[in-house]
Structure formats: structure tokens, C-alpha cells
């Protein structure tokens, strides 16, 4: 599903974010990305959804060669990758429903189907009743659920989540994790960067640790392994 071969990333200011990363993530895996801040986790994720291009090396996601992608083709690849952020990134002037529906309008789905599917997904994340609320009227956990609904509405092959529980209290975080596990269970590959030791150690999954731009550890049912 996601394959990196000797990927290097050096930013314009000279920062070496990744130095020779090779990794293979199979379909339907759930992977935690751990490591100190600034070690390269975010760059790793940005390379997957083509926010950045590698300086050297090859990345393929869902069969697309990300490094060689023409800018014109980027939107089409992103439609197959759901992205979730710590700060939710919802469109502030749109209601919960409109935020989720937007991702389907982008792929020019018929209105009737958009309506049906959007409500379905809102139901899945448990916010069917709040469909008409603006993001500002929702709690952090609810906003993240909307963001997740938006990420999965087009049934992407991969979900990339950059500290999805970073801004949420423990209880809400568990709710989000249950949701992600459910989505993973339905067949979506999930790559999730996190600093949450408790989640990683409790909900055991594959753990990839990135330190100073290289893969320090890659364990099938790993532990967080850092001081909290």
C-alpha cells in the first residue's frame, strides 16, 4: 500500500528531515508513528499525501509514484488518502454536513448520493444530530469526529492521521481511537503519528519509531518506548 525506498528529504533551509528511510506498509495495517518532536514524523506523513516531495528516493502510495506525480494529478491522489490533523482543519464557515459533503462534491458525486453517504458517515462517527452545527459550535472531540467523517467519506485506501488525539482529553481520545480502529477493521490502512504513550501501549499495533530522520525501531506489536 505504502512503500518508501531510501527516501531522503532535505528542506530548502538545509534541515535534513529524513535520511534514507525504507519501509513497507501493507494494505489494512494500522501503524503508529512515534518519536521525539522534530524527528521527521510529520515529514514522513506529508510525503505520503504529497504535501512534500522527496529529495531522493521513491515513494509509492496505492500504486502512484508520489515523487514523479504531476501537480495536476495531486488532487486525484489525495482523494484516495484521508488526512486527519491535530487541529481538525475544518472549513469554519461550513456546517458539519457541508464539511463532510465537500469531500464528495470534489469528486463530483450526485447530490442524492452525497446526502445519503454523508449522513451515513455522520451516523458512524456518532454526530448525525449535529449535522447542522458549525465547527465553532462543536467540542474538540466532535470536531475531530467530523474531520474523520470527512476523511473516510470517499472510502479512501489510506488514512493519515497526524496526532489526531493531540488536542483532546483522554476520554475523548479513546472515543476517537475506537472510531479509527473500526475504520481500520473495515479495511482502511491507517498511519497515525502520536505522542500518546497510553494509547500505543494499550491498543497494540505495529510501531515505527523515527529518530533524527531514520527508522530507529519497527516492531509488529510494539510499545511506545519513550518517557512520557
Amino acid at each position: 500500500m505504502i512503500e518508501m525506498q531510501d527516501v531522503w528529504k532535505t528542506y530548502a533551509d538545509g534541515t535534513h528531515a529524513l535520511s534514507g528511510v525504507s519501509v513497507l506498509i501493507e494494505r489494512n495495517e494500522f501503524v503508529y508513528l512515534v518519536g521525539p518532536s522534530g524527528a521527521g514524523k510529520s515529514t514522513f506523513m506529508k510525503l505520503i499525501y504529497r504535501e512534500e516531495v522527496p529529495t531522493k528516493g521513491q515513494i509509492s502510495v496505492n500504486g502512484f509514484n508520489i515523487g514523479k506525480l504531476k501537480p495536476r494529478k495531486i488532487p486525484y491522489v489525495r482523494r484516495n488518502i484521508g488526512v486527519i490533523f491535530q487541529d481538525f482543519r475544518l472549513l469554519p464557515k461550513m456546517t458539519a454536513y457541508e464539511n463532510v459533503a465537500f469531500a464528495m462534491e470534489v469528486i463530483e458525486a450526485p447530490r442524492r448520493i452525497i446526502k445519503k453517504r454523508t449522513m451515513e458517515v455522520l451516523d458512524l462517527v456518532g454526530l448525525k444530530d449535529r449535522f447542522n452545527s458549525l465547527p465553532a459550535q462543536l467540542s474538540g472531540g466532535e470536531q475531530q469526529r467530523i474531520a474523520i467523517a470527512r476523511a473516510i467519506v470517499n472510502s479512501p485506501a489510506v488514512i493519515v492521521a497526524d496526532e489526531p488525539t493531540g488536542n483532546l482529553d483522554p476520554e475523548t481520545s479513546w472515543g476517537i481511537m475506537n472510531l479509527l480502529e473500526e475504520i481500520n477493521f473495515r479495511g482502511t490502512t491507517i498511519v497515525m503519528a502520536t505522542h500518546n504513550r497510553e494509547i500505543v501501549n494499550t491498543l497494540r499495533k505495529r510501531v515505527i519509531a523515527i529518530e533524527s530522520g531514520t527508522i530507529a525501531r519497527d516492531e509488529a506489536r510494539g510499545e511506545y518506548g519513550y518517557e512520557a
Partner: protein
């Protein structure tokens, strides 16, 4: 692009105007204010122009004939002058009519001064009053008339007068007034465009993040751009229609209120009928263009992210 997507963009463009209520209000206000000032000056310039036209159209050539010119000669000359391309109309003024005119122009004192010059003792020659199509060609037409005189061996014309020197000064003045009007209107148009596009840029700057999010979800640049395009056009249309309404209503009131006073000064304002369409098309067209221009320009900038 599918039809439902076009409809979606239209819907979204309209909704954006409503969603960004205060920002839309700010943009529309800035359009109304800028275009109102521009439109006010435009109306002023049109009237000054019209006034200049009126003044210019009053210039005419006076052609004085020899005292003993007979009727066949007069007819012949009238034809020849009438055939000059620039000439619009040739009017024969007999010596009697000339005296009458002079008397009128001199006013009260004319009665005394012209006493005893009636009938056979009339010292004035017959003359023509020549009007030209384009006042600016008057000197040229006068020269042609003189050439007619030279070609004729009897030299039936004693003098050709059109206020040489004065007319040129008048034209210089009216042209200057026209040009100043044009420069002011053009300057205001440019200022309005910058003012409005800056306001729109600010409103879109606030939405830079939104554009970034849309791209993350997999929206193509086209998909993002269209609603902004429609939003900009809509704001431009709303703003300029309001402006046009205020402007034309205000102008019609002005004509109504001032018609008596200005009539005394022999000044006639351009009627709404003459310029209403022109002003509306110009203001609404300009407003719409600026709206579209401002929004597309700013969106393009942020799409490069």
C-alpha cells in the same frame, strides 16, 4: 465539468457571500463608495463635455459680400459654400436682416445709433452665416471659402470672419476641460480598482487556510476557484447595481431641482435618457470586472501553496 458541479459552484458562490457576511459587506461597501465617487465625477465630466459642445456649436462663419452682388452670384456662392464637405448649413442674411440683427445686438442704444440707416441707406452688405458640422474644422472651412473667393475673378466676398484667435482659444479651453475630466475619471477608475481589489484580497487572505484545506481534501484548483469567481462577480454586481441606483436617482433629482436655476444661466444638464444606459453599463460592467479581477487574482496567489 458536470452540470451538477456548475450548479454546485453557483450555489456555493452565493452561499459564500452570505457566509462571509461582514467581509462581503465590507467589499460591497468599498465598491459602492469608490464607484459612487467615480460615477459622480463621470456625470460631472459628461455635463462639462456637453456644455463644451454647446459652446463650441455656437461658433459660425460670417461671410460678407460686395455691396453690388447680384442674386445669381449669391445663389452661386451659396451653392459653392454649401458644397464644402465640412459645411453643415449656409444661411443667407440679407442686408435688411443684418441691420435688424445689429439693432437687436446693440440693445437700447441701437435705436439711436442706427437712426436714419433704414431702407436704401442701409450701409450693411449681404452676408452668409455658415455652420460647420465639426466646430474644430471652422478655420479650415473659412480658408476654403476664401479660396472660392480667389478663384472668382470678381472677388465677390469682402471678408470671411469666424472670430479668429478667439475661437482657437475657446477650443483650447474646452479641450483642456474635456481632457482634465477624462484624466480625473480614469484616475478615479484606477483608484477604485485598487481600493476594491485590496478589500477583496483581505477577505480572501482570511480564507487562505480554507483554500489549503480544500486542497488537502483533493479539490482541483478549478474546483476551488469557481465559487470564488462567482462570489467576486456577485459582490461586484450587487455593489455596482446599488451604486447605479443611487447615482441615477440622485441625478434625476438634481435635474429636477436645478432645472429652473440652471435654465436661467442657459445651462441644460444632460438628460437621464441620454446617459442613463451608458453610465449604468459602465458602472455595473466595471464593478463586476473589478469583483472578478480582485477575487481571481488573490485566489490564484494562494492556490500555489
Amino acid at each position: 465539468m458536470k452540470l451538477r458541479t456548475i450548479l454546485r459552484h453557483l450555489r456555493e458562490g452565493v452561499r459564500n457571500v452570505l457566509r462571509n457576511g461582514w467581509m462581503s459587506f465590507a467589499s460591497i461597501s468599498s465598491i459602492v463608495i469608490s464607484l459612487f465617487i467615480l460615477g459622480g465625477f463621470l456625470l460631472l465630466a459628461l455635463n462639462v463635455n456637453n456644455l463644451a459642445d454647446q459652446i463650441e456649436s455656437q461658433v459660425e462663419i460670417r461671410v460678407f459680400l460686395q455691396l453690388d452682388t447680384d442674386q445669381t452670384k449669391i445663389d452661386q456662392l451659396r451653392n459653392e459654400i454649401g458644397n464644402i464637405k465640412e459645411v453643415k448649413q449656409v444661411k443667407f442674411v440679407s442686408k435688411d436682416e443684418g441691420l435688424e440683427l445689429l439693432r437687436k445686438n446693440l440693445g437700447e442704444s441701437g435705436e439711436d445709433l442706427l437712426q436714419g440707416y433704414e431702407k436704401d441707406k442701409n450701409p450693411l452688405p449681404d452676408s452668409f452665416t455658415v455652420e460647420v458640422y465639426e466646430p474644430q474644422t471652422i478655420a479650415f472651412a473659412a480658408k476654403k471659402i476664401e479660396l472660392i473667393n480667389k478663384a472668382d475673378q470678381t472677388n465677390p466676398i469682402t471678408s470671411v470672419k469666424y472670430g479668429k484667435g478667439k475661437v482657437e482659444t475657446l477650443f483650447k479651453l474646452t479641450n483642456a476641460v474635456r481632457n482634465i475630466g477624462l484624466v480625473i475619471v480614469a484616475g478615479l477608475a484606477i483608484t477604485a480598482m485598487f481600493l476594491i481589489s485590496t478589500t477583496i484580497k483581505i477577505t480572501i487572505l482570511a480564507r487562505r487556510r480554507e483554500i489549503g484545506i480544500m486542497k488537502l481534501v483533493g479539490a482541483t484548483n478549478h474546483f476551488i476557484r469557481w465559487p470564488f469567481f462567482i462570489e467576486g462577480a456577485l459582490i461586484g454586481i450587487i455593489g455596482s447595481v446599488i451604486t447605479t441606483a443611487i447615482l441615477l436617482y440622485g441625478y434625476s433629482r438634481l435635474i429636477y431641482v436645478s432645472q429652473f436655476e440652471l435654465g436661467l444661466l442657459m445651462i441644460k444638464l444632460v438628460t437621464l435618457k441620454e446617459i442613463g444606459f451608458f453610465v449604468s453599463v459602465l458602472i455595473i460592467g466595471l464593478g463586476t470586472l473589478i469583483g472578478i479581477w480582485g477575487s481571481t487574482l488573490s485566489v490564484r496567489k494562494y492556490l500555489k501553496v
